[in-house]
Amino acid sequence: MNLIAIWSIYKFEMHRFLRTLMQSFVSPVLSTSLYFVVFGAAIGSRIQEVEGVSYGAFIVPGLIMLSVMTQAVSNASFGIYLPKWTGTIFELLSAPVNFFEVVVGYVGAAATKSLFIGVLILVTSFFFVDYQIAHPVAMVAFLLMTCLSFSLFGFIIGIWAQNFEQIQLVPLLIITPLVFLGGSFYSISMLPPFWQTVTMFNPVVYLISGFRWSFFGEADVAIGTSLLAIGAFTAICLFLIWRIFKTGYRIRS
């Protein structure tokens, strides 16, 4: 195992994140604060409690998930796309590193960045709403698993993408709608039966539900199902990445 190489990739990626600290931190914190103001304070005050939790607190897990997923995909996809775009990918291909080490370096950095942002939003939320976390260890575990699995997904997007537009389209056209329609701002039980069934095809529902359970002890789907869903998603991403490196898809001629 080339541990120094993993650390070098990780450090190099984190360095870029720290270089753009304002953009990396301020933007998600500001937009989340706006969500709290609009949905929590303004609209939320007119909504009754959802599943025994104030509406402002109810949306916290969904908001964290929204930012974490979007940031994980963006950071990981940009991280590996940039060397492709600048041509510096030749360094990775000609260095004594294997695909696992490359993935650990890039995905580890992207997961760390999204974790920072998730934690930052969590801290920010305490300034707007009053709540307690029912299962803090499970909450941290869910957060870590989401950061990791969506960073893996982002890595695949970065390999697949052939221009910057494609990098931006996936979070915009796939992640954001799935998170919004996955119960970030409402409980699935509030939907008519037909739409409840449709919603169950949205994989993000299982992640948000499990994450919300760790906060309030209530969930739309069984916690085991949530764990299974996130495990399956991670496994699929790992398999695809393994295939990418095996075949050299869009990285090695």
């Binding site: 190099f12 600048t86 030749f90 004594p96 001629s253």
Partner: protein, 313 residues
């Protein structure tokens, strides 16, 4: 060079076919001895970069084998790549990174701990030390090229691939570059060089390989090649112009040039008898006065162009 040691780079029937059917390499075989400088010459699209890319792991070969330091570039890629440094043709650098960070990064990828003394020495040799804190996008093209070279050297490779390292760079960098190459050779580093400046190859290479249409046309010691394929010319400048060759000179392969003021005699450089003594006696017998005499030899470039023309026909 140690001729009894096994070659440090062994290429055996290496082929590369792209999806569209284009064959960039057609069963290339080549052995490179440790410590030598091999100039890989060929026109654009001949397969030079594909060969280097395949040896370095950037491109997958379709068939055949290649070993570096005895390690197969596919099955033993870690050990093979550990020995290799590459300066690619294109300048590829992360634009917003600092020079020192991007150079450090490469050594890290090779699993080696940082060595501040070595880093300073390399950056100084390439006159990058004063620019070490500068961002890459603030550098000129020539300075970026120096950064590429520093990155390739900092992990102390035993085999260095230089793919057109001096293309489009100024004289100063070219001079620094060849000073570095001379030092590396002294340290026993094997260097595989592609260049369009054939006079550079002529000046520094131990051996020359000519590649065209994905096939190696020739691999030979540079000096032997120049002796074997090079022709020499004797230029005789006359005091008075002549209209035609005197009878005494009729038996020689002579050309009259410069309005009859010069005679050009072409002969094989390797020939045991050049005929020069007889020619000069005959010139004297014909009563021609000599102003000056000089010889010239075909350059590597002329030999290279001749080889390609031969291959084309």
């Amino acid at each position: 060079m140690n001729s009894s040691a096994p070659p440090i780079v062994e290429v055996d029937q290496l082929a590369k076919r792209y999806a569209g059917g284009f064959e960039a390499l057609k069963g290339v075989s080549l052995s490179i001895e440790e410590g030598e400088i091999l100039a890989l010459l060929g026109p654009n699209g001949a397969g030079k970069t594909t060969l280097i890319s395949t040896l370095c792991g950037i491109s997958e070969p379709s068939s055949g084998h290649a070993r570096i330091g005895g390690h197969d570039v596919r099955t033993g890629y870690r050990r093979a790549r550990q020995l290799v440094g590459l300066v690619p043709q294109e300048i590829s650098l992360e634009p917003f990174e600092r020079v020192i960070d991007t150079v450090r990064y490469t050594r890290g990828l090779f699993g080696m701990r940082q060595d501040a003394t070595l880093l300073e020495s390399i950056l100084r040799k390439l006159t990058l030390w004063d620019k070490r804190e500068a961002r890459v996008n603030a550098l000129s093209g020539g300075m970026k090229r120096r950064v590429m070279i520093a990155k390739a050297l900092y992990h102390e490779p035993r085999v260095l691939f230089l793919d057109e390292p001096t293309a489009g760079v100024d004289v100063e960098l070219r001079r620094d570059m060849w000073n570095v190459v001379a030092e590396l050779k002294k340290d026993g580093v094997t260097i595989i060089l592609t260049t369009h400046y054939i006079e550079e190859a002529e000046a520094i290479a131990d051996r020359v390989a000519v590649i065209n249409h994905g096939e190696i046309l020739l691999v030979e010691e540079k000096d032997a090649l120049m002796r074997r394929m090079g022709q020499k010319q004797l230029e005789i400048e006359l005091t008075e112009p002549i209209a035609a060759l005197p009878k005494a000179l009729a038996g020689f392969d002579l050309e009259i040039a410069d309005g009859g003021r010069r005679l050009t005699y072409t002969y094989e450089a390797t020939g045991e008898r050049t005929g020069i003594t007889r020619l000069l006696s005959a010139v004297s017998e014909a009563g021609l006065g000599l102003r000056d005499i000089q010889t010239s030899q075909s350059s590597l470039e002329e030999i290279f162009v001749g080889l390609l023309a031969e291959d084309g026909s």
